[in-house]
Symmetry: C2
Subunit: 120 residues, 2 copies
């Protein structure tokens, strides 16, 4: 089974003006998540998820047999919840964490979910 992957847009400006110096909000989010990953969860940066109107954004995926989720409007305040949600997702076979066990941000800030590649 493929491991769980957080794919984080590191070029996201979260709708703010470009700062000449300093990291973008997406890069800061990436760094904060990468610093405290649970076992079984990896992270990868990507330049643009084409979700700029709803940034910062992130994909939660775990291979062909799981649902994939796209989340938006993420900030550094959500790091703990994102990591807890990723850990719960990692423990499932299909990616479907019971609703009440999902962090609130995962219930409310989904931009889209994508079914497993093979329908069963």
């Amino acid at each position: 089974m493929a491991g769980t992957v957080l794919t984080v847009c590191t070029t996201c400006r979260a709708g703010r003006p470009v700062e000449a110096d300093g990291d973008r909000p997406g890069k800061k989010l990436y760094d904060a998540l990468a610093a405290d990953l649970p076992d079984g969860v990896t992270i990868r940066p990507v330049e643009c998820l084409s979700a700029c109107d709803n940034g910062c954004s992130m994909v939660l995926s775990g291979g062909d047999e799981k649902w994939t989720y796209v989340y938006g409007h993420l900030t550094l305040d959500h790091v703990e919840d994102i990591l807890a949600g990723a850990k719960a997702y990692d423990a499932t076979d299909d990616g479907l964490v019971p609703w009440r066990e999902r962090p609130v941000i995962f219930r409310k800030q989904s931009l889209a979910r994508i079914p497993p590649q093979e329908t069963k």
Copy 2:
């Protein structure tokens, strides 16, 4: 290589009141697309892509080596463009159709894109 798949939310109401009789907008979109699929492109229904605020919605995917796209605000007026865009996507190795060759709806109505599962 996996074929190109259109995954269409058939339960989408597109923000309209429920009609007691008759198909939902998502189901109508699904049927219209299914009636005229190009070679190499298949379609599958799904109940909810969790993109309800931006429906009707659809996923364009083609296996682990291609970028996956989520599109929103789709209507029956877009059927021809969706099918042309899917055909162009099918002809690529990585899912990246040159910008100017993409239908306008694919340029402007992307909710998110997801990179191939394995970064190279």
